[in-house]
Symmetry: C2
């Protein structure tokens, strides 16, 4: 029997416990597929006494993940602790220093330190695998960093956060308001007690930052992402969008433009017939527009212990299948030393269509004045809908919905500012970008 691949697993939360379960119940199956056994040699977690329903007899316990990462008894360090600093970062650095391959699902850490860690891994001929960090069980990292290597990617975008997609899907299905659906999602375990990180788009931004680097061969730049969450989406927006043939999704979008790379996370109108519009609930989906292959779309479970463990186990199996000590594939698709600096496109220069929902005073001339303010900025309107009914529960205004042809963010903002100055608006205007 060939030498086993020995793992050190740090972090036994939902994903870590699921992974241990998978590796134990699939031990023989994996040995057959990989040509050698995969064994859990050591684990580390905060609380040794907690009952996780796992049989860890015969597995060495480390209180300190750094000690596990450096242990001579492991070949691969699997980091499932989480967090962009602290023990996760320390342990991964220690693992690479001591010649261990690293598998991680930690998007926050990679968004912050991915280039540095990739460089360290490559300098030592080690693998840094992180399929689970973006879109959970969907193999989008592998597709982009390996299969699409020869492609110049124009745009990559997707539904990268299951919590937001669940909330938006439920708002559409039930007609309920954001706050009520969020409360339900929290009860069902689809949203955290403090949902800020998910609903305000930060989780999507971390994942997008990683995709951007692989897509465009540039350094990761998570701080340059324009981020807007879903907490301002009203059921009136969802209804109006549906009437116009659109569905609202929280998308992460990275796009090559003439002035640089756009990275943005925001609620987006997508045409009802687009594949990405068909993605409901906690499912994730990624679409890639590339020069040689055209458009690829991939979808599947984006979160949850089992789906994430599936991707982590695949990363481990990749290492098990290769001859030890001789792998060398760049973590970010391009060797870290060859990544170009990130050149940010200005968000004000973003070009696209816009959906605008205004709540206006029912005053003669408001409609004409709004239209002329749009025209003044050179914005051409695709449709304009005036509802007789009130715009939203929150206020007493009348709803005016505008859909523009392609224009720029700065033109839209200027027009909305002027419309506000003109005194027609009862409440803050809603502005949602359209992705075709």
């Amino acid at each position: 029997m060939p030498e086993p691949l020995r793992l050190g697993i740090a972090g036994l939360g939902t994903v870590g416990a699921a992974l241990v379960g998978v590796l134990q119940r699939k031990h023989d199956f994996l040995a057959q597929r990989c040509g050698r056994p995969i064994v859990i040699a050591g684990v580390s977690a905060r609380d040794r006494t907690r009952d996780r329903g796992l049989d860890l007899s015969g597995v060495e316990w480390f209180d300190d993940p750094v000690a596990l990462a450096q242990s001579a008894g492991i070949d691969v360090f699997v980091e499932l602790i989480g967090g962009d600093e602290g023990p996760a970062a320390d342990a991964i650095r220690a693992a690479l220093r001591s010649g261990k391959h690293v598998v991680t699902a930690n998007k926050a850490l990679l968004a912050r330190h991915g280039v540095e860690l990739a460089r360290k891994a490559e300098d030592k001929g080690l693998l840094l695998n992180f399929e689970a960090a973006v879109a959970g069980g969907v193999p989008v990292i592998k597709a982009m960093r390996e299969t699409l290597t020869a492609n110049t990617i124009q745009r990559v975008y997707g539904i990268l956060n299951g919590t937001c997609n669940y909330i938006l899907s439920e708002m559409e299905a039930t007609g309920a308001d954001y706050a009520d659906v969020l409360a339900d999602a929290q009860r069902l375990g689809y949203a955290e007690a403090d949902p800020t990180f998910d609903v305000e788009g930060f989780d999507t931004a971390h994942k997008l930052a990683i995709l951007t680097s692989i897509a465009f061969g540039c350094r990761i730049s998570v701080d340059d992402i324009y981020v807007e969450g879903i907490s301002n989406i009203a059921s009136a927006d969802i209804q109006a969008a549906a009437e116009l043939g659109y569905r609202i999704k929280l998308l992460g979008v990275a796009q090559r433009t003439d002035t640089g790379i756009e990275q943005r996370v925001h609620p987006t109108l997508v045409p009802l017939e687009a594949p990405i519009a068909q993605i409901h609930g906690v499912t994730n989906a990624v679409a890639i527009d590339a020069d040689i292959v055209g458009r690829l779309v991939m979808s599947g479970p984006g979160a949850g212990g089992e789906a994430t463990a599936s991707a982590v186990a695949g990363d481990i199996a990749d290492i098990a299948k290769s001859r030890p000590g001789h792998q060398q594939a760049p973590a970010l698709g391009t060797p870290a030393r060859n990544l170009t600096p990130y050149k940010q496109a200005r968000m004000r220069a973003h070009a696209g269509g816009y959906f605008i929902r205004l709540s206006v005073n029912d005053r003669a001339g408001a409609f004409a004045s709004i239209a002329s303010r749009m025209a003044q900025e050179g914005i051409s309107l695709k449709s304009i809908v005036q509802h007789g009914t009130s715009a939203a529960k929150e206020d007493a205004g009348q709803a005016v919905i505008l859909v523009t042809h392609t224009t720029t963010e700065s033109a839209i903002r200027a027009a909305l500012k002027n419309i506000d100055v003109d005194g027609h608006l009862v409440s803050r205007p809603q502005m949602i970008r359209i992705e075709s």
Copy 2:
């Protein structure tokens, strides 16, 4: 500068010419991403004098692909000749014998000799990569053989032939008959002059045979696939299916059952809201149901020189990114020596729903007699629709559409035989399986 990776490319048809174009215009880009240059050291094709619009100056020409495969001047042999025997097979065997990695897009060859070639490659520590052989530019091979390694797959199915999907999409969109749409497809270059290989399902079967082996860790068994093409699909079927909430797609389906593995290629009713129903035209799509990750769906261009070349180039880049001579990943996901024998499930035992379109004599009692023949076989009906209009242009009968709940293939066949014996039918009954 590190050593270049030297390619020998055999076959300069649509895909070969597209690949040469990609490798030449992306030379610097690929060198940066792979960490070393990829060079075309030799080529081989039947006709040296033909103008392919390629600059092959400085590239060694081989009249014999076997000589190219054995040349000391190459590291990787890229087989784009096609055909399941003859020069393609001879050259791949020669390449593996002389220690060259192999990249191929040849599904017919792999369906026939894949296990033997995988074994030869693995015995020598060589890679046999063939992402382009199934679903063109869609990275389904990589997803299944690498990312999903820890998953036990229950079912893999998909739209694997662009020609058939184009024809079915057009029949639905235009209401035209099969023969007319086929003629259009031939004019547009979406179907061959002799379309048999595509429209009768054989191309789909080759691709399915490869997916089945990777999905279930069994040997390839292309001759055990139940194959039915689309040439019997009438526009009346497509209309009736649409009225009942279904769309007709030619699917390749491989499924684990209690009695073995089902492999089948046939027109299939899929629910209109299923992701696979949204795949139009020449696009391919694959859905995978797996125990840990759940369901993954991938779609993209399934054919064409550029999309296929994208996948071939990705396979080459994988080799370029690794340290030469040390890769070892099993071609079929499981080492060839560990593949289990293929255990065929009997098609007559297939369980599923069925769509039946009958053209019946307008005779009192026919309806009751048909229903009682179905009941006799224990078949429970989900819906039964009797159109006042004629069933199809071809005959003067009246259309009766039945949709069954889950039953077996043998029950359906017995019932249809009895209905025929009863003398109610004006023409051969149409029977199309439903996939949920």
